[in-house]
């Protein structure tokens, strides 16, 4: 086994500990955004798909790599946008209670 793999294993183990430590005390109201945000972060697999496309030769490899880039882009772009939309709602504590007429509630037909 080369020393290269050992270095990567070291990084892996340390990252695992960091991953556990860093989210240790998350209030449960943020569990959904956290899941969504970490979902976006693993979208960085896009970097790997771009690299592998550079190495791909022949129709089979290129098709698979194309698919990989496409899927990874969905993951990373969709992930960050969805998370941002969720968190938009947590912005600045509503200082004063908005007037009650702010809620459109009278459209009937909400029933399915």
């Amino acid at each position: 086994m080369s020393t290269g793999i050992l270095e990567f294993l070291t990084v892996f183990v340390l990252a695992a500990f960091v991953g556990i430590e860093v989210i240790n005390a998350v209030p449960s109201i943020l569990h959904t955004p956290l899941m969504s945000g970490s979902n976006a972060i693993h979208g960085i697999v896009l970097v790997g798909t771009i690299l592998i496309m550079g190495e791909a030769h022949g129709a089979v490899q290129i098709t698979l790599a194309f698919l990989a880039v496409l899927l990874a882009t969905l993951n990373i772009v969709g992930g960050f946008v969805v998370t941002d939309r969720m968190l938009e709602m947590f912005k600045a504590k509503p200082a004063e209670r908005p007037a009650k007429d702010a809620t459109p509630s009278d459209e009937s037909g909400g029933d399915r």
Partner: protein
């Protein structure tokens, strides 16, 4: 400094960005900035990747990369923008699944490139891990999506000889994997990939709808690990760090979630929840002969208007009816009359932990009116009315009193301790877990049937005229 070193340095900065972003996502104050930081770090890292000469060697490949990215972004942005807050869980599931698929594809292509030269065993092992975990995550997320989107039943799917079939598939995958390790054969790897997809499907099928949130969190963690495996095959530290961060934190989050349901993770994933549920379904017949008391909106409006303390317990029914705004309107109205009102949020209310908080935040409900279960429960005994809006399992006393029940041991909000209990429900159908709720038949309970938004609107009118 060589180009490679410079790129690695930028990757290192991106990795630091991800760590800080995860930390930020854990606090309400910094969460949004954390997400933006992660997005920025990702953008820089992706942009930097194009500096590698190998990425630009073949112009056809480069063009295809860019085309794929444009198509992906064109699909993802509108999908993520337009998705309703209630459909958020399945959106996360699908974005997670495609990430797992991408990781598996990387491993497969690396193997196709290296296979002619018979790679070292540890290289094949890295590839196998990425393929196996990535495919399970992809197929599993697809099924989870189908369950949440109600393209298929949310009930656990069981069939004869399920355990035997699972065991056969698992053993076959191990056999194929060992075969691939020894021979370095491409067909064997492809077979492993296909069977891993099957494993992902049969792994998720027997998991009931109520447990799908825990499952998505677990699959999110799986994708992280698959991405880390791609990092190993590509010798890329950034992928290893980002993937492992998500893998480790995802497992922790998954454990927190199963803990909130009072069960071990193994129990959530492998308990024969299905068989018990069918038994519960059979008991429906006896349930229907019992009588429930249903009230008019006017009765309930008066009850609420002259209460001292009202606790609103929202559930998924509130979410599907898009009734969060109307719920807030009712709460505001009651508070104007001097009634003490707060929302009691069960950790798994909605379909993901914290899902209900997101929905209520959308309706501008202030934080201080939201109480977590542990904070709310001591106050239940002094509440005049527990207003249960579209929730069922999270207030089912069977979790405390019926040892045989599938939800026995799950912490619940003690709505049964309140002076009066009002259920706003669409029908007498049992909740997501598929079991009866004795609380519906309690003497203190009044039911108001209908879509949560309609019934809440009627209550608002009733309280106004009370």
């Amino acid at each position: 400094m060589s180009l490679d070193t410079f790129i690695d340095l930028v990757y290192l900065l991106a990795a630091i960005g991800f760590i800080l972003a995860l930390k930020g996502l854990g606090s309400p104050k910094y969460a949004r900035n954390g997400n933006l930081l992660a997005a920025g770090a990702a953008a820089v890292a992706v942009g930097m990747t194009f500096a590698y000469p190998s990425v630009r060697t073949h112009s056809l490949n480069l063009i295809l990369t860019l085309v794929a990215m444009v198509i992906g972004a064109t699909i993802a942005v509108p999908a993520a923008r337009k998705v309703k807050m209630t459909a958020m869980p399945q959106m996360v599931a699908i974005f997670n699944g495609v990430g797992g698929g991408a990781a598996a594809l990387i491993s497969i292509v690396v193997f196709l490139i290296e296979a002619p030269a018979k790679p070292a065993v540890y290289r094949i092992a890295e590839v196998l891990f990425g393929v196996l975990v990535g495919c399970v995550s992809f197929a599993g997320s697809a099924i989870a999506f189908a369950k949440l989107q109600e393209l298929m039943t949310g009930r656990p799917v069981t069939y004869p000889a399920q355990q035997v079939i699972n065991a056969v598939v698992a053993v076959a995958i191990v056999g194929l994997a060992v075969g691939t390790l020894v021979t370095g054969s491409v067909p064997l790897l492809v077979a492993t990939a296909l069977l891993s997809l099957v494993l992902g499907v049969i792994f998720v099928l027997p998991i009931g709808g109520a447990d799908v949130p825990v499952l998505i969190s677990l699959l999110n963690s799986f994708t992280g690990l698959a991405v880390a495996a791609s990092g190993f095959t590509l010798n890329n530290n950034l992928l290893i760090i980002a993937g492992t961060l998500v893998g480790a934190s995802g497992i922790l989050l998954t454990r927190m979630m199963s803990k909130a349901m009072g069960r071990s993770l193994a129990n959530v994933l492998f308990s024969a929840f299905g068989s018990v549920v069918t038994a519960g379904g059979g008991a429906d017949g006896t349930g229907e002969t019992r009588t429930v008391r249903s009230g008019t909106p006017e009765d309930i409006g008066v009850l609420l208007a002259y209460a001292r303390k009202v606790v609103i317990i929202p559930g998924y029914g509130l979410a599907v009816a898009q009734a969060q705004h109307t719920a807030r309107e009712l709460a505001d109205l009651l508070m104007e009359r001097g009634v003490e009102v707060f929302y009691a949020i069960h950790p798994v209310a909605g379909r993901m932990p914290g899902h209900m908080n997101v929905l209520l935040a959308e309706a501008n409900v202030p934080y201080d009116e939201l109480k977590e279960m542990d904070e709310a429960n001591p106050e239940m005994a002094t509440a005049d009315v527990a207003l249960v809006v579209g929730a069922n399992d999270t207030v089912n006393p069977a979790a405390k009193n019926t040892p045989g029940s599938p939800i026995y041991g799950m912490p619940i909000i003690n709505a049964d301790e309140a002076e009066n209990i009002v259920f706003l429900k669409r029908s007498m159908r049992p909740g997501f877990a598929g079991i009866d709720n004795d609380l519906l038949f309690d003497d203190k309970t009044t039911l108001l049937f209908g879509d949560a938004k309609d019934t809440l609107t009627k209550l608002v009118a009733a309280v106004k005229s009370a």
